[in-house]
C-alpha cells in the first residue's frame, strides 16, 4: 500500500480527526491546563470506561450487529460489584469473575435473541437495555449501593471502602497512568488479539462481510455471533467494575447513554456500521478523539449546550467522511 492510498484510507481519516482535536486543545489550552501531564492522565482515565465499552461494541458491530444494552450492563455490574464486595464482603477474586459472568450472561441473551430468534439486534438489545436496567434497580433497591449499608433499624451502618475499589481507582507506573487506563489497554489488547489473530475474529469479519457466504463456508455463524455479544457483555461488566471503583458505589442509574457514546466512538474511528470492516486500532483512535474532545470542552468550561452541539457536529463529520470513502 502506498503512502498516498494510506492517506485516503479511513484509518488516516481517524488519525486526522484525533490530530485536529489535539490541535484544538493546543490552541484552547485553558491557561496551559491542556499542556499538563495530569490533564492527559485524567483524559485517558475518563475515556477508559467508554473505551472498554467501545471495544465490545466493535466486536458486535464487525458482525453487522449493534448492542444497545452495554450501558445497562455497566450499571448492573457496578451494582452487583458494590453489593457483593461492600455489603456482602465478598473477596474481589470472587466478585470480579462473578460480575463478568453476569455481563456475559446478558450478552448471551442478546446474542441468542439476535441470532437464534432472528430479532433485529437493534430491537433485541434495546429490550435488554431496558430489562437489565430494571434488574439493576431491583437488585440495588432503587438506590445507590454505597458504604452506607442499610441496617435493620432503618438507619445505616458505615463500612470502609473495600481495597479492590482503591486498587482500581489508583495510579501505576510512577503515578502517571491510571489503573483504569491500564485495564482499558488490557481490554484493547485482548480484543485486538481476538479480532486480528484468533480464528473467531476472522469468523466475525466473515459474518459481517457476507453472512451467507460465511455460513456456506462452514463458519458456525450462530455460535460466533453469540460469542461477540457475550464478549461485549463481559467487557461492559469490566467497565461497570471500573465505574463502581471510581464512584465508590454502585449506581443503578450509571451508564445511561453510554451505549451511544460507545457507538459514536466506533463511528468516529471510521468503522462501518454495516460490519465486516474495522479493527481495534480504529476504536482506540475514536476513544482518544471523544475522550480528548470532552476534556478540552471541559477545561475550557464550555457550556453544556455548546458541548452537545460540538460533539454532534464531530460525529456527523466523521460519518460524512466515512460515506465518502464508501462511495469511492
Amino acid at each position: 500500500m502506498t503512502a498516498g492510498s494510506w492517506l485516503r484510507g479511513s484509518t488516516a481519516r481517524a488519525v486526522l480527526a484525533l490530530a485536529l482535536v489535539l490541535a484544538l486543545g493546543a490552541v484552547f489550552h485553558a491557561d496551559g491546563a491542556f499542556l499538563k501531564i495530569s490533564t492527559h492522565r485524567d483524559a485517558l482515565r475518563q475515556a477508559s470506561v467508554y473505551g472498554i465499552l467501545a471495544c465490545g461494541m466493535t466486536l458486535v458491530i464487525i458482525t453487522g450487529g449493534i448492542d444497545l444494552a452495554v450501558g445497562s450492563v455497566l450499571a448492573l455490574s457496578a451494582v452487583c460489584f458494590s453489593l457483593w464486595t461492600i455489603h456482602w464482603g465478598w473477596s474481589a477474586w470472587l466478585a470480579v469473575p462473578a460480575c463478568i459472568l453476569v455481563g456475559a450472561a446478558v450478552g448471551a441473551a442478546s446474542g441468542g435473541l439476535a441470532s437464534v430468534f432472528r430479532i433485529q439486534p437493534f430491537i433485541a438489545t434495546l429490550s435488554l437495555m431496558v430489562f437489565v436496567r430494571g434488574i439493576a434497580k431491583t437488585i440495588s433497591g432503587g438506590t445507590k449501593v454505597s458504604t452506607a449499608v442499610p441496617a435493620a433499624d432503618g438507619g445505616y451502618r458505615y463500612v470502609e471502602v473495600p481495597e479492590i475499589f482503591r486498587a482500581i481507582d489508583s495510579r501505576v507506573l510512577g503515578g502517571q497512568v491510571s489503573t483504569v487506563t491500564l485495564l482499558f489497554a488490557v481490554c484493547a489488547v485482548v480484543s485486538w488479539v481476538l479480532l486480528a489473530r484468533h480464528r473467531w475474529g476472522r469468523q466475525l469479519y466473515a459474518i459481517g462481510g457476507n453472512e451467507e457466504a460465511a455460513r456456506l463456508s462452514g463458519v458456525p455463524v450462530r455460535a460466533a455471533k453469540i460469542g461477540a455479544y457475550v464478549a461485549c457483555g463481559a467487557l461492559a461488566a469490566v467497565a461497570g467494575i471500573c465505574q463502581a471503583a471510581q464512584e465508590q458505589q454502585g449506581d443503578p442509574e450509571a451508564g445511561a447513554g453510554y451505549e451511544l457514546t460507545a457507538i459514536a466512538i466506533v463511528v468516529i474511528g471510521g468503522i462501518h456500521l454495516g460490519g465486516g470492516r474495522g479493527g481495534i486500532g480504529r476504536t482506540l483512535l475514536g476513544t482518544l478523539t471523544i475522550g480528548y474532545l470532552g476534556k478540552i470542552l471541559s477545561i475550557n468550561a464550555v457550556p453544556e449546550a455548546a458541548r452537545l452541539m460540538l460533539t454532534g457536529t464531530i460525529i456527523v463529520a466523521a460519518v460524512l467522511t466515512q460515506r465518502r470513502e464508501a462511495r469511492s
Binding site: 430494571g134 434488574i135 445511561a256
Partner: protein, 333 residues
C-alpha cells in the same frame, strides 16, 4: 432530590415504563403486596392514611417514605398505606382515587406533576378527606396544606456559610445540577445571592447534571486549570463527593472545602462523618412534618395553608449531634 427529571434519552424514557413494570413484577414476586405490612399494629388502628409517592427511584424520595414511616411508628393508632407511582402520573392519579374509594382518613401526596393531579386531589377533598401535599404543589387551593422546602433559601445559606468559612475571600468551583431543572436554578441563584458583596469569586462552573461521574470529570478539569481552589460548591452531595474524589486523586483534597446539598443520612451526612465533605445542607423531605400535620388535622386542628421547611447544616463539629437548624435568610443558629 425533589424535582429532578430523568436525564436519560427519549428512548429510555419511552421504555422506562416497561422497565418499571418489570421491576414492579419482580418486586411483587419477592415482597408480596406493595403496601408495606410493617405498620400494622396489633391494636386496631384508628386512622388509615394513604401515602402516594411519585417515584422511588431517587434516594431522596426513598428517604421521604422512610421519614413518614418512622414518624408513624411513634403513633400506634395510625396505619399508613404506601404507594409508588413509578414516575407515572396516571398511575399516581389512580392511587389517589383508590385511596378515596377505600375510604382512608387522610392522604399524603408527593405529586409528580401539578396539573394532572389537581383534580383527583380536589375530588378527595370533596369526599371530606384532608390532603397534605409534599414538595411539589398542585394547582389552585383545593388541598389542606402544602409542605415543602425552599431551594433558594438553602443556596443562600450555603453561600453565606462559605463567605464566613473562607473569611470573605476565595476562589470557588460551582458544580451545578441539571440547569433546566428548578432546584438547580434556585440553588444557583440563592448561592450567588449569598456570596454577593464578598470577595469570593466563582472561577469555574459546569453543569454536572446531578451525576457523580460528571462532577468528578468537571472537577478534574477545574483542578488542571487552577492551581488554587479554595472551595467547591456542588448542587448535591454526590456531586460534592465526586469533586472530593477528583481532588483526592490529584492529592489536593486538603487545600479546599467541599460543600454539598441534600444531607441524606447515607450520602451527605455519611460523607461529612467520613471527613470528605466539610458541609452539607439538608433539603428536608417533609415526610415527618407532613404526617404530624395530618395527625393534627385529624385531631381537629386547623393547619396552616403552607409550611416551609427549614434546612439543617451538617459539619464535622455538629454531625454527631444531628446538625444545626438554619433560620430564614440563611442565618445559621
Amino acid at each position: 432530590m425533589n424535582s429532578r427529571e430523568p436525564t436519560s434519552s427519549s428512548v429510555l424514557h419511552l421504555f422506562g415504563r416497561v422497565a418499571a413494570a418489570v421491576v414492579a413484577v419482580a418486586a411483587l414476586a419477592s415482597c408480596g403486596p406493595s403496601t408495606e405490612p410493617g405498620e400494622v399494629e396489633p391494636a386496631e388502628p384508628r386512622w388509615r392514611i394513604g401515602m402516594s409517592q411519585c417515584n422511588l427511584g431517587e434516594p431522596w424520595r426513598v428517604q421521604m417514605d422512610a421519614d413518614v414511616r418512622s414518624a408513624a411508628a411513634d403513633h400506634p393508632e395510625i396505619e399508613v398505606l404506601f404507594k409508588d407511582a413509578q414516575n407515572d402520573v396516571l398511575k399516581q392519579r389512580a392511587h389517589v382515587e383508590e385511596f378515596v374509594s377505600a375510604g382512608v382518613d387522610a392522604i399524603l401526596i408527593s405529586p409528580k406533576e401539578a396539573a394532572p393531579l389537581t383534580e383527583p386531589v380536589a375530588k378527595a377533598m370533596e369526599a371530606g378527606i384532608p390532603v397534605v401535599v409534599i414538595d411539589r404543589k398542585v394547582l389552585g387551593d383545593r388541598y389542606t396544606t402544602f409542605v415543602g422546602a425552599d431551594n433558594h433559601e438553602i443556596g443562600l445559606a450555603a453561600g453565606r456559610w462559605l463567605v464566613e468559612a473562607l473569611g470573605g475571600k476565595g476562589r470557588v468551583v460551582e458544580l451545578k445540577g441539571l440547569m433546566t431543572s428548578t432546584p438547580a436554578q434556585d440553588r444557583h441563584s440563592g448561592f450567588r445571592e449569598g456570596i454577593a458583596g464578598s470577595d469570593i469569586e466563582v472561577v469555574f462552573e459546569a453543569d454536572m447534571k446531578w451525576l457523580e461521574p460528571e462532577a468528578r470529570r468537571e472537577m478534574e478539569s477545574a483542578l488542571a486549570r487552577f492551581e488554587e481552589i479554595d472551595a467547591v460548591y456542588a448542587h448535591n452531595d454526590p456531586g460534592a463527593h465526586g469533586a472530593y474524589l477528583a481532588a483526592r486523586a490529584a492529592e489536593r483534597e486538603s487545600e479546599m472545602l467541599f460543600v454539598g446539598i441534600d444531607a441524606l443520612p447515607h450520602e451527605g451526612v455519611m460523607y461529612v462523618k467520613q471527613g470528605m465533605l466539610d458541609a452539607t445542607f439538608e433539603y428536608p423531605t417533609g415526610g415527618r412534618e407532613a404526617l404530624e400535620l395530618v395527625l393534627a388535622t385529624l385531631g381537629g386542628e386547623a393547619p396552616p395553608r403552607e409550611v416551609t421547611l427549614g434546612s439543617r447544616l451538617f459539619t464535622e463539629q455538629n454531625v454527631e449531634q444531628g446538625g444545626a437548624p438554619i433560620a430564614s435568610q440563611g442565618e445559621i443558629q
